[in-house]
Symmetry: C2
Subunit: 229 residues, 2 copies
DNA sequence: GAGTCTATCAAACGTTTGTTTGAAATCAAA
DNA sequence: TTTGATTTCAAACAAACGTTTGATAGACTC
């Protein structure tokens, strides 16, 4: 039956997410799913194939649950960025009902397996494309590299609320998501990033209009060099 | 001898970092270290204790290699932030000689084991304190929560260059560290964050001087609400 | 140099693991 | 009902793993 296959996939997600691939036993999953041990080898080629199927299943469930926003023509780029950040946080950071989606996907990021390539193709790339689209609107005269760096800054801020969770709890006793809520966090990240984007835009235009150096001298390139070696 | 213990620890780091705890076998490490298999059980209580010792060893090596900067009284807060970001990137993101330091520590962050508490105490907390100190200089009239959010944004940007490495390569073919270099990345993150901080400071002062609403109306709170459920 | 403590080693142990096996059960079509 | 394919099941298998063992060699004290 196809139902057994689905029960296995649904049981696998949370367990793989919590324990990781190696520490998870197929016995544990089959028991949780209420199926026979051999069902995994029967419905999937082996444990690794099963794991990959489970990751894809989780990514699909995550995308279904928190779909990418769709905007009309009247929506400003700033609103789009807030929508993107909110979606991002809801997908990876928030511990709502299926807390394990983000956990599992993060595991794939940190210790990539064979599932990583498909994960990037189906899950990461669409979000990446959407963010770059918004950034094209926000920074129309920017170079591709500038947008790349900006995208990294925005994604890093979002992702940190999943990646840094354990350390945050150890460090301050609670996560920022719990303390502020997704809405507040999304607004912070959005306004933080918009301010930086706007500053860079101003800097660029003032630099292109008057080629004279020395104006608008800020701290962008301090003197000190530190750290390596 | 104490030399065997050291050889084991040095051999353990890269292997644990690459394969993860469960997928690493003590046989592999002992072979790489050129010691007998039983040496691990002899010098450490068991595999987990050995792993924890390896993590601590890696953290110590990382701190020795890239120490926290020390500033004189004349150094501006902006320079300090750049110094902090550079140190951070050099510690975790850069793939210099011992590429595995950051890798191993990141794993402890994302998938914490028993070593996490000590790791936070010895490694994370000093950096956290240093960053908050710099932020106190940069945003003297800010609330504690504002500084917390800002610190999260900065740390998230830095950490992403380690956490997101595998996905970056899958997505764009190369890491940002390889494409831009640490110096450029540190400058970007610093100026990005400074612009956001400055914007927030302006906003705060204009809000406190004239209590009249409606001025300085920006996009900080767009209308749309999206994502959850 | 005998005695004692420490360190190293090859070998083996017991457990857990993913996977396979062959029989039983279920279901659909003829 | 019979036939044949598909799915489930308990049991067993072989390999890999962390750990232990008992012997051996070295270092040091008296």
């Amino acid at each position: 039956m196809d139902e057994t296959r689905l029960r296995l996939l649904n049981a696998a997600g949370p367990i793989f997410a919590e324990r990781g691939y190696r520490a998870t036993t197929v016995r544990e999953i089959s028991q949780e799913a209420g199926t026979n041990l051999a069902a995994i080898s029967y419905h999937f080629e082996d444990k690794e194939g099963f794991y990959i199927a489970a990751v894809k299943h989780a990514a699909q469930g995550c995308m279904d649950r928190v779909p990418l926003p769709q905007w009309g023509a009247a929506v400003s780029a700033e609103e789009k960025l807030l929508g993107f950040v909110t979606t991002f946080l809801n997908r990876v950071a928030v511990d709502h009902d299926p807390a394990w989606h983000g956990q599992l996907l993060m595991r794939e990021m940190v210790l990539p397996t064979r599932a990583c390539a498909e994960f990037v193709r189906d899950y990461v790339r669409p979000m990446h494309g959407m963010l770059l689209g918004v950034l094209c609107e926000l920074m129309p005269k920017s170079s591709e590299k500038e947008r790349w760096l900006t995208a990294l800054s925005i994604v890093g801020q979002c992702l940190h609320h999943r990646v840094g969770q354990a350390v945050m709890i150890e460090l301050t006793g609670e996560t920022a998501v719990a303390a502020f809520g997704v809405k507040k966090l999304a607004e912070h990240i959005t306004s933080f990033s918009l301010a930086a984007i706007e500053h860079a835009t101003k800097l660029r235009s003032s630099k292109s209009k008057l080629a004279a150096p020395g104006t608008n001298r800020r701290v962008d390139r301090p003197a000190r060099k530190r750290g390596s070696r």
